[in-house]
């Protein structure tokens, strides 16, 4: 299930919100949120509900055992290692098994049969949440949970279950047992949810129509402008899709009293790759920093080790995004750019004006997304070739004109929305002594909501066409 489905917005969400309001006491509310989260999870894949319960129980008891051994002064290494490996194996089975088998078959010429199971929704995200728990407990960042209800809610809490943010246990622990609900928070949450919904349904999905049309073209009819148009549409689409979803997640959590850190902070205004990754998918970057990079020694043990650590982190970041070589390549591409930025070009970059650095960063990021959206590495290089005039029907052709003209408006709106202008404008207007800007903003959000409903509705549109040709 996803937040931009009609059945979530009009069935599950109001049911949970209403009951959360009626049920008294934090215990009752937590039980309700857990049940709601399990229904949310089971909506898409009921067959994995039992697996989810097992994951919760296993990690709950692992946490307790780590805590126990620590209190007894024993080493926690083996317990931690076993628990972490089991979680990773599960993730590996669902996400990487097919990739692994394909590569083994290709390398050794074997024919290991492959039966791919559908992934449980959010498996990449909740596995990382759970891992953060095990590490936090073993490192005294937080005590092990002794309350199975609270722990279950931490793992399955539906706003963050499917697409994050990857909330670390230490940051959520206290909010589960004691959090303040307020009308102010609920209102703020509603606003964030509506903004996120509009980003996803109105911007991302509209950009998607152009992106999918353009990438569906025959490779020899992709001109330079078409290739750039596709890459730019994808860059914006991915940001509004994922960023919008994160906004909805954080907004929903806020309605139920939880405060999560923002997951995106206008990444496309970054003036360096380092800055970009501080602004893009912040919770994932933080996770890799806290649980991989720093434990490996971070940047404290000399340049060679720092280089090694960065490359490990970025190869992992790449493969986390998808089980294919182009994702590994994409991760290492960022690893190398960061190394260049950190060690080689530092002095040069300091002299370049910020404006130029922003444009340069943006172009490098857009090029990176080509590896992300292409089905494989050779397709990615073909597309990059088209972007730089290699092959294809030249700079600009009729096809490019058609797609440019049909996406020009949405591109301008999206590009403006990728920068904090609207946010600042809204805040500035609300500083007025008058209440009128509030009512204007209400009308604005009402229009957005209506258009979102229309968009959500239309995605379920499927005419049955018994084509009588």
């Amino acid at each position: 299930m996803a937040f931009n489905e009609l059945s979530f917005l009009f069935l599950l969400f109001p049911a949970v919100a209403l009951l959360h309001w009626i049920v008294p006491g934090i215990l009752g509310k937590n039980i309700l949120l857990l049940v709601g989260s399990l229904v949310f999870f089971a909506w898409g894949c009921p067959e994995y509900l039992f697996l989810m319960v097992m994951i919760i129980l296993f990690n709950f008891f692992s946490g307790l055992q780590i805590q126990q051994r620590k209190e007894a002064g024993e080493s926690t290494g083996i317990t931690l290692a076993v628990s972490v490996i089991l979680n990773l194996l599960l993730l590996g089975f669902f996400k990487y098994w097919g990739f692994l088998v394909e590569n083994i078959n290709a390398l050794l010429g074997t024919e290991i049969p492959l039966r791919q199971l559908p992934m449980p929704i959010g498996v990449s995200f909740f596995t990382f949440s759970v891992l953060s728990y095990l590490f936090d407990v073993s490192r005294d960042k937080a005590p092990a949970s002794r309350n199975i209800l609270e722990f279950s809610l931490f793992v399955t809490f539906f706003p963050k279950l499917v697409s994050g943010p990857i909330v670390q246990y230490a940051d959520m622990r206290q909010q589960i047992s004691q959090r303040k609900l307020s009308k102010l928070k609920f209102g703020k949450g509603c606003r964030l949810f509506l903004i996120g919904l509009a980003k996803k349904v109105l911007l991302a999905n509209t950009l998607g129509t152009t992106f999918y049309a353009v990438t569906g073209l025959q490779s020899d009819s992709v001109s330079t402008v078409t290739a750039w148009l596709g890459a730019v549409c994808y860059s914006l689409m991915l940001y509004f899709d994922f960023g919008g979803y994160s906004d909805m997640a954080i907004g929903l959590a806020q309605m139920f009293g939880f405060e999560f850190e923002k997951n995106f902070d206008y990444p496309y205004q970054s003036s360096s790759i380092t800055e970009f990754w501080r602004r893009w998918h912040i919770s994932l970057g933080a996770w890799f920093r806290d649980y991989v990079y720093i434990p490996l020694g971070g940047s404290r043990e000399g340049t060679p080790k720092t280089v090694r650590n960065l490359l490990i982190v970025w190869a992992l970041t790449g493969i986390w995004h998808g089980a294919a070589w182009n994702f590994v390549f994409w991760g290492l591409y960022y690893g190398l750019l960061l190394l260049l930025e950190k060690f080689v070009l530092k002095a040069v970059l300091e002299k370049i004006p910020t404006f130029i650095k922003r444009i340069g960063t943006l172009i490098l990021v857009i090029i990176g997304w080509v590896f992300f959206f292409s089905p494989d590495l050779s397709a990615a290089f073909t597309w990059l070739g088209r972007m730089f005039g290699i092959g294809g029907p030249g700079l600009l052709d009729g096809t490019a004109r058609y797609y440019l003209s049909s996406s020009a408006i949405i591109l301008v709106i999206s590009a403006l929305s990728a920068f904090p202008l609207g946010d600042r404008l809204g805040s500035a207007l609300l500083r007025s002594r008058s209440k009128r800007p509030v009512y204007v903003s209400l009308a604005w959000y009402a229009v957005l909501l209506a258009l979102c409903i229309a968009g959500m509705m239309s995605s379920t549109y499927s005419s049955f066409l018994y084509f009588q040709f």
Binding site: L6, S7, L9, F10, L11, F13, P14, V39, W43, G44, P46, E47, K180, K183, L184, F186, G187, K188, C190, R191, F193, L194, T206, T209, A213, S221, G398, T399, Y402, S406, S407, A408, I409, I413, L430, R431, S432, R433, K435, V438, Y439, S441, L442, Y445, L449, A450, L451, I453, A454, M457, S458, Y461, S462, S463, F464, L465, Y466, F467, Q468, F469
Partner: protein
């Protein structure tokens, strides 16, 4: 936030900004929850629909307890809610309008052309099948050299009414596809009607909301095919034209969700005393009309021609020309027969997509003298059945 001393601030000590944000939050809460509540109440009050005219499909119904057991209950509930969503068609129209406003010129594989023209975007051809079909037709001609075999593959609206396409819209070059077919054929009289149709492109040759050509479009094609069949085509003015529907909304309307135009379906009755009857397949049912009036009561008014596609339809006439025509066809041929019947004692239409019997037997037993392959290009290039029917032993 600087004056955030106590959790319960009195409204008077808020800055205008805080007060406005607070008011905004409150209003947005009511906006979101109120809209949800309103929609829920409406969906409870409005009775469920079984069928969507605009989408041309059955709508999902309330899931049963049986679904609860096989684990699909929640999914089915979601589908049911979406299909019975209040104002479903209204929201579609809003969404399409919004997308058009943003500059979109296509919807679900349909170009939104000028003058409310909807045009199916031709798909990528199935090259292998197309080659198989060509070879099968060639073998057929080799096998029956005594038959007069004619083939016409009609271009689609995107080619004929190209001036109605959105500016710069990328379209397959159908002329090139047709040239390719012509080159691949041996011993077949291939008639390319593209130029004849485009010469009349300012007339109503294709429906605005449907993927078929109009009777007028078929007429112009007929005037060109006629020579290959040794027919002298009568002038357009000799036909009596009856508009049998002015409210036709075709498949492209359903597919794109655009309901901006209604089409007129016309039938062309030739000036002749020749009588005929129509028999459908093996049923032996005899009807004295090419036209199927009940079609005008249902959604697809194009099925007024023969009531749709059947594996085999025979038209027996009193023409007494000692010629019999075998037509291998898709639905484009359905409105062509009204022009052809006065010139043959018998016309047998075979739709290879639904026909599984032996063609050789038909040719021998019915004294076939002429054969016409009549398709439209988009279907022809994706068709996988013609070769099979022609090579059945």
């Amino acid at each position: 936030m600087e004056q955030n001393h106590s959790p319960k601030r009195s409204p008077r000590r808020q800055s205008p900004y805080q007060r406005n944000r607070r008011l905004q939050g409150k209003l947005l809460k009511w906006l979101l929850l109120g809209s949800i509540a309103l929609i829920l109440v409406l969906s409870l009050l409005i009775p469920d629909k079984a069928f969507s005219e605009s989408e041309n499909r059955s709508l999902a119904q309330r899931p049963t307890k049986a679904d609860l057991l096989d684990g699909t209950y929640l999914q089915d509930l979601g589908d049911y809610f979406a299909d019975q969503f209040p104002g479903r068609d209204f929201w579609m129209t809003v969404n399409l309008g919004f997308n058009k406003l943003l500059g979109q010129r296509e919807s679900s594989g349909v170009y939104l052309g000028s003058d409310d023209y909807l045009m199916q975007i031709p798909g990528e051809p199935n090259t292998l099948q197309a080659q198989r079909n060509l070879e099968a037709v060639n073998r057929f001609v080799e096998k029956y050299p005594e038959l007069n075999t004619v083939m016409t593959v009609a271009p689609n609206a995107v080619t004929v009414h190209a001036d109605k396409l959105p500016a710069n819209a990328p379209v397959r070059d159908q002329r090139q596809d047709l040239a390719h077919i012509r080159q691949g054929l041996k011993g077949v009289r291939f008639v390319d009607v593209t130029d004849t149709l485009t010469a009349h492109a300012d007339e109503y040759l294709f429906y605005k909301t449907d993927h078929h050509w109009t009777s007028l479009g078929a007429y112009y094609a007929f005037t060109q095919i006629a020579a290959s069949l040794d027919i002298t085509p009568p002038a357009l003015s000799t036909y009596t034209v009856y508009p049998v529907s002015v409210t036709f909304e075709g498949t492209l309307s359903s597919k794109s969700g655009s309901h901006a135009a209604l089409d007129t379906v016309e039938i062309f009755v030739p000036d002749t005393q020749i009588e005929y009857y129509v028999t459908y397949g093996d049923s032996g049912e005899m009807i004295s009309s090419l036209y199927h009036r009940p079609a005008l009561e249902v959604k697809d008014h194009y099925t007024v021609f023969f009531g749709g596609n059947y594996p085999r339809v025979d038209i027996t006439t009193s023409a007494d020309t000692e010629r019999s025509l075998l037509v291998f066809k898709d639905s484009y041929a359905n409105c062509m027969i009204q022009f052809l019947y006065p010139y043959f004692d018998r016309i047998i239409m075979i739709d290879p997509r639904y026909y599984y019997d032996n063609v050789d037997l038909v040719i021998k037993s019915q004294n076939i003298t002429d054969v016409l392959f009549l398709y439209n290009l988009d279907t022809y290039l994706a068709d996988a059945s013609l070769a099979d029917v022609l090579t059945t032993e």
